[in-house]
């Protein structure tokens, strides 16, 4: 039989002025299993705590109820108190008779009656308490960074510099991501490649970093401190350890393919590196276009490879990596412009996206930095930029702002005016958003110094007419229809989630929003953590971001990961879900409601009669469970229970409400 002590607090006059403490102690003395009732002026004071410790010893109490302020205030205080007296700290219940009683009621009779009810509920609940302990698990002191764009690069370098091993997984043949495709960066107009490529090199040279390029994450098992990641290293058909990146192979390769890196504006070979500064500088054979794979003949590259690095029958390799933390930096993709039929992207070659413009204006791009329009290679005289194409448009499923387009369009305007003398630049916009250091100044430079004509309004249609692209738009500030006959139209494309972002989220067990961006644990206070402990977010996979924000977030994610890896072991929650295997039907209806992927099936053996049978039951991983209890409701058989808030405890409280 439980032996419960009840300690009623006056809290000076905070409680005692409204609640008749005497009546409460009298009533508490009658409650089942209560063997000792005391009241104190200030229970949380040292004398108050001492009286609890004394009473535990004197009356042999094994459970304690403190009727005082909110448990959010002093639950931990009193847990320590009873722990000091030798009780398990969880054999405590707080009756909140201050915040939820004396402070909100004036009528002494009613408040006293309610306080008695609250004490009765706490007594009934604590009688059902059991001692709880939390488990610990060791930490694998290695991190994985998924994605090798600027976010992944920065995060990897920071974690490695903090002294931990890092594994970087990048699915394309090279590091760099979208940033490598850019020409200049706003608002400083410094060269993107110049600031990025040294970092790319740093990654491969760092002794703590292992890079798996042309590789993808297949599966993620385990939990914080102990993830087991399966990585597929796709076959390059080239032995990375031998390839020197000399370039003989791609010079001789007879097959020309549209370059993904140049967004189809330029070409590459079937054996290639995506761009000259690619890291690692290892060739890759594109098996879909290589003549040898298509027709069984050629092998010219093999003949010219002095390093003998070509391996035509190379297979994908599956490797397993154990890590303690994961930084997700999988980036974004451009909005698909085909959704805007009225702009004719894809039909008219001279309607291009902002990223394509980056390649056109880039000195290492297909036009060697000369802005030439794709249809006929003519240098455009009039260029129209249309902003918010695939941003802030609910009808296209993108209600959000992509955050970068205002600034890169201003940059494009400046570059156009710089590179094409006497060119005219028109920019159709909804709003100009420049929240960033030096951003507003940069925009002003575009509009005021470089003479870009900003027109506030949407464009309704773009169509070709006599070698020009007619842009029908509106200037809403003047209330006039605007028709511009342009040579080139550039659509400022928004950012959307990677096409496989949801699949990645499911592999990782993290949540994502309706647009497919991965969700942070708290929008303000936990911006780089996910709801799955040990998995952090960096860059545009979490939402549209420019480079400075991406880098800042990558640093933050890295510091979170490093802090985690600095720990020897992790202590799990004590109030977590547990499975009564004798009851569990193994239906696993609990599994989909668990936000932490903490529930999985396991097989148990049991004796039934004279036979040993195996069956499947649910298992809660204590390192992953946060104790929300959603699973307990999904469990029809009540095999799942939440320690500290068991069905029995809640039912006992409910029973006690109405004596």
């Amino acid at each position: 039989m439980p032996r419960i002590g009840v300690f009623v607090c006056w809290c000076g006059s905070n409680i005692a002025a409204t609640v008749d403490i005497g009546q409460v102690t009298e009533a508490a003395a009658e409650m089942p299993h209560v063997v000792c009732v005391e009241d104190n002026k200030y229970t949380c004071s040292e004398p108050g705590q001492a009286s609890i410790r004394q009473a535990i010893a004197q009356h042999g109490l094994d459970r304690v109820v403190v009727a005082a302020c909110s448990p959010r205030m002093h639950e931990n205080t009193f847990r320590k108190t009873i722990s000091a007296a030798g009780l398990n700290p969880y054999l405590l219940e707080i009756a909140n008779i201050r915040e939820q009683c004396s402070w909100v009621h004036a009528d002494r009779v009613a408040a006293t009656a309610k306080a008695i009810d609250l004490v009765r509920m706490a007594v009934a609940k604590v009688a059902q308490h059991s001692a709880l302990t939390s488990s610990t698990s060791p930490v694998t002191r290695r991190a994985m960074v998924i994605g090798g764009g600027i976010a992944g690069i920065q995060a990897a370098l920071d974690i490695a510099d903090a002294g931990h091993e890092v594994v970087v997984v990048e699915r394309s043949p090279t590091l760099g991501g979208h940033m490598a495709q850019l020409d200049k960066t706003f608002p400083t107009l410094d060269c993107s490649a110049c600031i990025l490529t040294p970092k790319m090199v740093e990654v491969v040279q760092h002794p703590k970093i292992t890079l798996y390029a042309y590789s993808e994450v297949e599966k993620v098992d385990g939990y914080v401190g102990s993830f087991k990641v399966t990585v597929r290293r796709k076959a390059r058909s080239v032995d990375e350890s031998k390839c020197t990146g000399c370039g003989a192979c791609w010079e001789k390769c007879p097959v020309k393919v549209k370059s993904e890196f140049d967004l189809g504006l330029g070409t590459r070979k079937a054996i290639y590196v995506p761009f000259p500064q690619a890291v690692p500088a290892k060739a890759t054979i594109d098996r879909e276009h290589c003549i040898y794979y298509l027709r069984g003949r050629c092998r010219i590259c093999e003949r010219f490879c002095e390093a003998k690095a070509i391996v035509f029958d190379q297979q994908d390799e599956i490797i397993n990596v154990e890590v303690g933390a994961i930084v997700v930096a999988t980036g974004f993709q451009q909005f698909d412009q085909a959704a805007y039929g009225e702009y004719g992207y894809g039909e008219y070659p001279d309607v291009i996206t902002g990223l394509e413009f980056e390649r056109l204006v880039n000195a290492s791009g297909p036009t060697e930095g000369k802005i030439k329009r794709p249809s006929d290679g003519k240098v455009p005289e009039t260029v129209v930029f249309i902003k918010c194409v695939g941003s802030r448009d609910e009808h296209k499923g993108v209600p959000y702002c992509s955050r970068t387009c205002c600034m890169y369009t201003a940059k494009h305007a400046i570059l156009t005016r710089e590179k094409i003398h006497g060119s005219k630049v028109f920019i159709f916009y909804m709003d100009v958003r420049t929240p960033g250091k030096g951003y507003e100044e940069f925009y002003r430079r575009a509009s005021e110094e470089d003479g870009a004509r900003y027109l506030r309004g949407r464009v309704s249609r773009v169509y070709p007419k006599g070698g020009k692209m007619v842009v029908l738009g509106e200037d809403t500030l003047l209330g006039r229809k605007v028709i511009v006959e342009a040579d080139l139209v550039v659509l400022a494309s928004g950012m959307i989630a990677q096409p496989d972002a949801q699949e990645m989220a499911r592999k990782l067990g993290v949540s994502y929003d309706q647009h497919g961006f991965l969700t942070e644990a708290h929008p303000k206070l936990r911006p780089v953590e996910t709801n799955t402990a040990g998995i952090f977010l960096a860059g545009a996979c979490q939402g549209p971001k420019d480079i400075p924000d991406t880098v800042a977030q990558a640093c933050a994610a890295a510091s979170k990961a490093a802090a985690l890896l600095n720990r020897e072991a992790l202590e799990a929650e004590a109030m977590i879900a547990c499975v009564d295997e004798a009851r569990c039907s193994g239906c696993l209806w609990c599994e989909p409601v668990c936000p932490y992927k903490a529930i999985s099936a396991k097989t148990i053996s049991e004796r039934v009669g004279r036979r040993t049978l195996t069956r499947s039951v649910a298992e809660v991983n204590p390192s992953l469970c946060h104790g929300c209890g959603a699973c307990t409701v999904a469990c029809r058989d009540s095999a799942l229970n939440l320690l500290g808030f068991t069905n029995q405890q809640i039912l006992a409280e409910v029973e006690a409400v109405c004596p």
């Binding site: 009658e30 409650m31 089942p32 009765r120 006690a656 004596p659």
Partner: protein, 375 residues
């Protein structure tokens, strides 16, 4: 089987017209005692059960021409589905315990002979046996049972297979349909009192009791549809000593798979009497209650620690029918079944006393002939 199960000695008889029965009900209520409650068959939803009749809604006699029997047996009038054994209050460490008040007298108007006979069977176990069930005894003692002989049998009726008959005499007062009139025959002094109250003291003479015997004999000559198919003679004649053989018969593994382990058969059965006792605490207070229970439930014999002596349907189905058709007859000389046919109608999977009885009887015959062959 005991012939007195069919023909009871009439203590007196009377004749009343068919039609409203309010006078009969009132007379019975007066005899039963102060505050007596009268129950009669009543339709509830799609089901016929038993309902308290106010004076105005006492059924008319033609009801018994239309209705073969109620779907729910009248046993709950003596064994309520839930009844208090005691209530307790724990205040200031003073425990007070209250037992329920004495039950009111009850008149059951128009039970069929099979159901009336079921009370005799229950009485033997619950009152006359070594243990007397106080609550049941008090309720039975305060009851006046008016039994209505069956003018026709229903398709699921099987009374004759179990040693009874459509007009088997049981209860306090028998009612026999006789043309446009009803013949009343008192079987007990209480029944005789009702007749006296009804007729103003003039109980009928020899002529009327003779008529009663004649009508009863005619009604009892009816054969039921199930009874025509179901001969349990091998079971009755050879029952003694066959328990072990029947217990290990193959029929249980053959018959039991289809059972759903629900309690339907036991709960509609007038002769099943298993119950459970549970405490329902409410804080310091609470009640100890008795509710029906069923040997067909998986958890029926489940013990603390997890052991279950009857873990599968084979054991549970066997238990029920062996109890009805072998254990009880061995001890009391009668089947613990009155052939009311309710399990035949209600079992959702058609597993009932007729089919099992036939199989068991065959098994008994086979065992006997095997034993003879062995000699």
């Amino acid at each position: 089987m005991d012939a007195t199960r069919i023909t009871g000695a009439s203590l007196g008889a009377a004749r009343i017209p068919s039609g409203p029965l309010d006078k009969l009900a009132a007379a019975a209520a007066r005899v039963a005692g102060d505050g007596a409650l009268v129950f009669g068959p009543a339709r509830d939803g799609s089901v016929w059960g038993w309902k308290l009749c106010e004076a105005a809604d006492v059924p008319q006699s033609d009801l018994w021409e239309r209705l073969v029997n109620t779907d729910v047996s009248p046993k709950e009038l003596f064994m309520p589905r839930t009844e208090d054994i005691a209530r307790w209050r724990d205040r200031l460490r003073n425990l007070s315990i209250a037992e329920p008040a004495a039950p009111p007298p009850v008149v059951v108007l128009g039970v069929r002979p099979c159901d009336a006979a079921s009370f005799d069977l229950l009485d033997e176990v619950l009152i006359e046996g070594p243990f007397s069930d106080e609550s049941y005894r008090r309720r039975r003692g305060a009851t006046l049972l008016i039994t209505w002989a069956c003018g026709k049998t229903g398709p699921a009726c099987a009374c004759d297979a179990f040693g009874l008959a459509p007009a088997a005499a049981a209860g306090d007062l028998m009612v026999y349909p006789d043309g446009n009139e009803l013949l009343l025959s008192a079987l007990t002094p209480k029944g005789l009192e009702v007749l006296g109250d009804l007729t103003g003291g003039s109980t009928a003479g020899e002529a009327l009791t003779g008529r009663v015997d004649a009508v009863a004999a005619a009604l009892n000559a009816q054969k039921t549809a199930v009874g025509r198919r179901l001969a349990l003679d091998d079971l009755t004649a050879n029952a003694a000593g066959l328990t072990a053989t029947l217990f290990s018969s193959d029929i249980w593994t053959e018959l039991s798979p289809r059972c759903l382990s629900c309690g339907t058969c036991t709960y509609v059965c007038p002769t099943c009497y298993c119950f459970a006792i549970n405490d329902e605490p409410r804080g310091g207070d609470g009640r100890r209650i008795r509710t029906w229970d069923s040997c067909q439930f998986k958890e029926f014999l489940s013990m603390a620690g997890g052991h279950n002596p009857r873990p599968s349907k084979v054991e549970r189905v066997r238990q029920r029918f062996m109890h009805k058709l072998n254990y009880h007859p061995e001890r009391y000389g009668k089947f613990l079944c009155v052939g009311c046919g309710r399990c035949i109608v209600s079992c959702p999977v058609g597993l009932h006393v007729a089919e099992v009885g036939e199989a068991l009887s065959r098994a008994a015959a086979a065992a006997v002939s095997a034993a003879k062959g062995g000699e």
